[in-house]
Every structure is written in structure tokens, then in C-alpha cells.
């Protein structure tokens, strides 16, 4: 087993708001291995973005607060680093791609300048012409046509898909070891989505960077990821490799997620969403956070009182946080036939 690039242990983040303390992330732990693509799936408010923002120190510290946890990256705990030291990692070893390309680029600065900035910050000695040619090269790599002209343009002259490509280019400018893509295609049209994912795949192949892909779209997970983490209400409820999870999910929430997807190959009369609504992160349900909506729980006391911990389910590296996940053995997910080895 190779050494993980990133090791997060017991990370907990909370936010102080007018209505109370929001427990955004509640004690999660996971590893990311070199070269792999790890998917983090969950609804809005599951804490998937917050955990990665915390890594880079991008959570405003009031009202946010990193309560506990470590994040070991190349033998340094990112969460304990001072601002200055952390800045050395940002944009160089660890890079982030954000969700909304429309607003993630500064509208009054040229795109080429913003990309160049990413390089110059970490390599101030580089000459302007070197930086410029590298910028053009990056744009070409991500598939932006006429990169030398485009570099002199402003963000509003780029289309949405192109902007996201530019963002991707910016993130890999310094060949990071870890790439975090926070819902990179959510704000884009479906056809553009496919293109941008393609670019992401190419870029990963080029740079061999480990990638954390955050999304709420199971389709993207199936296409891009090797391993998956499913999050709910700030906790990890299931984790494992992508085939196993799709073939044999062992947590009611994961099953619910998959069931709610319409299947193109069959005729379904009723759609089956998960009943209820996502829980309040201020007043989380006691015990297992999912129990009020769980079809498996059926009001059992254990679900209401005890927080389930991740324990081994079927297959190696497959864990589920459910008291009664054994009862799901033999449950075939909707997609089990589609999942080929």
C-alpha cells in the first residue's frame, strides 16, 4: 500500500451563527493516495466542501472554527501551519478548482495575467516571458483555442466552459501533488460538463496529481473516480471503491441516493426520492443523523441513540456507518447489472 498523499484524521469544523453553532464537519477521517481520484459525494450541507476548504485555510476563522483534527500532507499538518507557511502550499502543492467559473475569476484583470500570477507567486524569479509562454502552454493543454490571443482577454470574453478550463489550467500551473475540484461542473451545461471532465481527466494523466472530486452527481463519480466517500450531515457514512459502492451499497443513505436516480434502461412509474429533508446542522438528530429518513431504521432505539461508526462492510476498503448494515447484505443496488468489473 503506497503512502497516502493526504491523511485527514478527526477533522471537525463548526460555524458560529446567529441561530446557533453549525456543526459543518463532525470528525471525519480519510486518506488520499497518489494518482487516484477520490470522489466525495453528498447533498448540499453535507460538509463535503467545508472539509477541503479547511485544508487550505480558506474558512474565515470567525465565524468558522477548526475544532479538532489533523491533515497530514507530506509530513506537515496543514491545519497547524501558520499563514505564511500555508501560502507556500496553496497553489503550488495543493490546488483548488472552484465551482462557479463565472465568479471565480477577477473580471477586471486579463486571464493570462491571473494565470501568470499563480506562477509568479511561487516562482518570483521567473522572467515575464517564461511565465507568459508557460501560460499559453497551459491554456493549450486544457483545450482553449488560440491560447496566445485568449491570454490577453478578459474573463467576460470567455464562455463558461472556457473559463472553467482556464481555472483548471491555473490550478495545475505549478504541478500540484493534490488537486481539489469542488463541484467543477455543477454550474455548467451538461454538454460542457462532459468536455470539462474530459479536460480534467487529461490533466490528471499529465500531472499524475491525486484528485479529490467533490460532487453531488453520482454519474460523475461513476465516470471519474476510483474511490468514493459518501457524506451526510457532516459525517462519512460510507466509503469504498467505486465498483463496490455502486454494486453493493451498504448504507441506507447511499441506497437512497442511487434509488432516487432515474434509470434510463427501465420504465419506472414512480420516482423514489429520500423522504424528509436534510437535517439542520445546528440541531442534528441524535444518534445516527439519518435515522429520521431511514427505511432501514424503522424507529429502532439504537439508531436514535448511538452514533454509528464506520465498520467494515463487504469487500476490502469498504466501510459503512450503519448499525444494521448487515441486513443489507444481498441487497442489489439499482445499478448492480450495469456495474461491470
Amino acid at each position: 500500500m503506497p503512502e497516502p498523499v493526504l491523511s485527514i484524521r478527526d477533522l471537525a469544523v463548526e460555524f458560529a451563527t446567529d441561530d446557533g453553532v453549525v456543526h459543518a464537519v463532525d470528525g471525519i477521517s480519510y486518506d488520499v493516495f497518489p494518482g487516484e481520484t477520490l470522489g466525495i459525494v453528498g447533498e448540499s450541507g453535507s460538509g463535503k466542501s467545508v472539509s477541503t476548504l479547511a485544508l487550505l485555510g480558506l474558512i474565515p476563522q470567525p465565524p468558522g472554527r477548526i475544532v479538532s483534527g489533523t491533515a497530514m500532507f507530506k509530513d506537515r499538518d496543514l491545519l497547524k501551519l501558520k499563514k505564511k507557511a500555508l501560502r507556500d502550499f496553496r497553489g503550488k502543492e495543493v490546488a483548488m478548482i472552484f465551482q462557479d467559473p463565472m465568479t471565480s475569476l477577477n473580471p477586471v484583470l486579463k486571464v493570462g495575467f491571473q494565470l501568470g500570477e499563480a506562477i509568479k507567486t511561487h516562482f518570483p524569479k521567473e522572467s515575464d516571458s517564461t511565465v507568459k509562454s508557460r501560460v499559453v502552454e497551459l491554456l493549450r493543454l486544457v483545450g482553449v483555442p488560440n491560447p496566445d490571443q485568449r491570454a490577453e482577454q478578459y474573463p467576460h470574453e470567455f464562455s463558461g466552459g472556457m473559463r472553467q478550463r482556464a481555472m483548471i489550467a491555473m490550478s495545475i500551473a505549478n504541478s500540484p501533488s493534490l488537486l481539489i475540484a469542488d463541484e467543477p461542473t455543477t454550474a455548467l451545461d451538461v454538454t460542457i460538463q462532459a468536455q470539462v471532465l474530459e479536460v480534467l481527466k487529461n490533466v490528471q494523466a499529465e500531472t499524475q496529481a491525486a484528485t479529490i472530486l467533490i460532487t453531488h452527481d453520482l454519474g460523475i463519480v461513476a465516470e471519474m473516480c476510483e474511490r468514493v466517500i459518501v457524506m451526510y450531515a457532516g459525517r462519512i457514512v460510507e466509503t469504498g471503491d467505486v465498483h463496490t459502492i455502486f454494486r453493493a451499497p451498504r448504507h441506507p443513505y447511499t441506497i437512497g441516493l442511487m434509488d432516487s436516480l432515474p434509470k434510463l434502461t427501465e420504465d419506472e412509474e414512480w420516482l423514489r426520492p429520500i423522504p424528509g429533508s436534510p437535517p439542520s446542522l445546528i440541531n442534528r438528530p441524535s444518534g445516527c443523523a439519518f435515522h429520521p429518513r431511514c427505511f432501514l431504521s424503522q424507529g429502532r432505539t439504537k439508531c436514535r441513540e448511538e452514533v454509528p461508526l464506520l465498520h467494515s462492510a463487504e469487500g476490502s476498503g469498504h466501510f459503512a456507518a450503519c448499525h444494521f448494515s448487515e441486513e443489507l447484505v444481498g441487497h442489489q443496488s439499482k445499478f448492480s447489472e450495469s456495474v461491470t468489473a
Binding site: R90, A95, F98, L105, P107, V108, L109, E117, T121, Y154
Partner: protein, 322 residues
């Protein structure tokens, strides 16, 4: 960029025409131009008739407007009906004085306001922030004339009690023939400048703070930080320029109000400025002089708006292509 500028300039012209026409109509209806003259003893009906004819007072307003426009260009705003002297020299003289006070006040207010706004935003909820926010609120609530009066009273008091003249409370000069920036002059314009500054400063500091906070929370600032830029570079390179953009609009819109404020301060501090001139001429019913004031001020306001538009286009590339 050039087309943008030209478009803005061309747009301003019809605005000026319509606004001057409206003003002219108002003023003509308001003033009884010959009213004052009629009181002059021994003035003959003949003279009145001649004057009436000369100034086209027997014609309908739109026609009079056309004559007036012609006057503006050929005879430099024509002659006052009262003094029968050309208006232009008065205008240029008084305008110069007013601009000195107004521009000094505005530039100081802008610089200080922007600086305070930046600091307040980056040190949100600190004592500094609360202090200046309170100051801003107070600044908005205090009427210009009150501030001016208080300052006048205060400094007159200081002089009367301690015989020390820090700032003058009236007039432009005590020493005739000084340069426009002599110490004497500066002492005289200090109070009016201070008065006008207070309200503008309140406006600019508050807007700058709000603008900074808006920008500090944008996605692109988060991207900049994620790239590893040091905080000062984030602020100077990304935040500052974007935050400045709305301030330009605010400053341009404020110019009209500042000229209004100038009317008040010049009245209180008896400065030989265009605002004081205006109030006098208005009280006397001197139509052409009042029109001259309105036109000149309109031109200046439109000019400032134009400058603001250009600056805006310079700072924000998105605007250039509209």
C-alpha cells in the same frame, strides 16, 4: 475605448440642451426681469419698452430661449438685466473661487474616505471601524448649514476670547491681492472646505467600506488566496481596484449635491463664489444671471459625470464593450 468616450460625450449634449431649456423656462416664469427696473425712479416707459424689445421679452419663451442660446455662444452669456453689465466676467471670477473650495474639499474627502473605508473593512468591528461608522452616520445627519454655522461661531468665539486667528469665518481674503493659494486665502477657505468635506467624507468612507466588504467576499478573491498570494497582494491587486469602481459613480453623483452645499457655505461664510452670486441674483430676479449659473453648473456636473464614466471604463473592462 475611444468609441465609448465619444458615445458618452454625444449623449451629454442633448441632456444639456433639454436641461438648459427646462431651467430657462422655470427661471423665466419665476423672474419678472424688469420688475426691479420698474422701481427705479424716472425710468421712462420708453426705456422699458426698448429694453423689453432688446431682450425679446415680448416673445414666447421658446423663442427667447433660442435668443438666449445664441447669446451664450456669441456674447458669452449675455448681459445682466439688472446691471446691464456682461455676466461672463462675474461668472469666471466666482466660479474660480468656488472650484477652489469644492475641489479641495472633494479631493481631500475622497482620499481620506477611501483610506478610512479600506481600513474599516479590513478591521471590521474594531474600535476604528465603529468610530468611523458612527462618524459617518453623524455626518449624514448634520445639515450643511448647521455645521457651517457652528464652525463659524466656534472660530469667531476663539478669536474673540483668545485673540488668536486660526481660521477666518468670512470672506475670501483679508489681505487684498494675494495669490489663490496664499496662507491668507487658505485660512479663509479652511472652514468652508471643512464643512463640505465632512459630508462627502462620510459618504465616501461608508461606500468604500461596503464596497471593500463586498469584494472581500467574492469568489475571485477566494481564488486569489487559494493561489497562495500574500494578503497584501490580494488587497492591492484584486480587491482595491474592484472596490474603487462604485466609488467613482458615487463621487460623480455627489458633485451636484456638493455644488448645492457650496451655495450654502458661500452664503454663510460670505465667499465670493458662484453659489453666493446665484442666491443674490435669484433674490433680485435677475433672469439671465440665474440662467448663467444654472447652465454653468449643469455643464460642470455633466462634465464630471463624463469624467467618471471614462474612469469607470478605464477601470472596468466590461463596460467598454457595452
Amino acid at each position: 475605448m475611444l468609441t465609448y468616450i465619444i458615445r458618452r460625450v454625444l449623449y451629454s449634449i442633448p441632456v444639456l440642451i433639454v436641461s438648459s431649456f427646462l431651467s430657462f423656462t422655470f427661471v423665466s416664469l419665476a423672474g419678472n426681469p424688469l420688475g426691479q427696473l420698474r422701481i427705479v425712479p424716472n425710468i421712462s416707459q420708453n426705456t422699458l419698452n426698448n429694453l423689453s424689445h432688446q431682450y425679446h421679452l415680448d416673445k414666447p419663451i421658446p423663442i427667447r430661449y433660442m435668443y438666449w442660446v445664441e447669446d451664450v455662444f456669441t456674447h458669452k452669456l449675455g448681459n445682466s438685466l439688472q446691471t446691464l453689465q456682461p455676466i461672463w466676467p462675474d461668472i469666471t471670477r466666482t466660479l474660480g473661487h468656488t472650484l477652489q473650495v469644492v475641489m479641495t474639499a472633494e479631493i481631500l474627502a475622497l482620499i481620506l474616505g477611501i483610506l478610512v473605508g479600506i481600513f474599516s473593512a479590513t478591521r471590521q468591528y474594531s474600535f476604528f471601524d465603529y468610530f468611523f461608522t458612527s462618524f459617518s452616520f453623524l455626518g449624514f445627519a448634520m445639515p450643511v448649514f448647521w455645521v457651517a454655522l457652528l464652525l463659524q461661531i466656534a472660530f469667531t468665539d476663539i478669536y474673540l476670547h483668545w485673540h488668536v486667528r486660526i481660521f477666518y469665518a468670512s470672506g475670501l481674503n483679508s489681505v487684498p491681492g494675494g495669490s489663490a493659494w496664499s496662507i491668507d486665502r487658505l485660512q479663509h477657505i479652511a472652514l468652508p472646505v471643512l464643512t463640505l468635506m465632512i459630508i462627502s467624507f462620510a459618504l465616501y468612507s461608508r461606500f468604500m467600506r461596503a464596497s471593500m466588504l463586498d469584494v472581500l467576499n467574492t469568489d475571485y478573491v477566494r481564488t486569489a488566496r487559494a493561489k497562495g498570494l500574500p494578503e497584501w497582494r490580494v488587497i492591492m491587486g484584486h480587491v482595491f481596484r474592484n472596490a474603487l469602481i462604485p466609488i467613482i459613480t458615487v463621487a460623480a453623483l455627489n458633485i451636484g449635491a456638493v455644488f448645492g452645499g457650496a451655495i450654502i457655505t458661500e452664503t454663510i461664510f460670505t465667499l465670493d463664489g458662484i453659489g453666493f452670486y446665484f442666491v443674490n441674483r435669484l433674490g433680485a430676479g435677475d433672469v439671465y444671471a440665474v440662467m448663467a449659473y444654472l447652465v454653468v453648473t449643469s455643464v460642470i456636473i455633466v462634465l464630471f459625470n463624463l469624467i467618471a464614466d471614462i474612469l469607470y471604463g478605464f477601470l472596468d473592462p466590461r463596460i467598454r464593450y457595452e
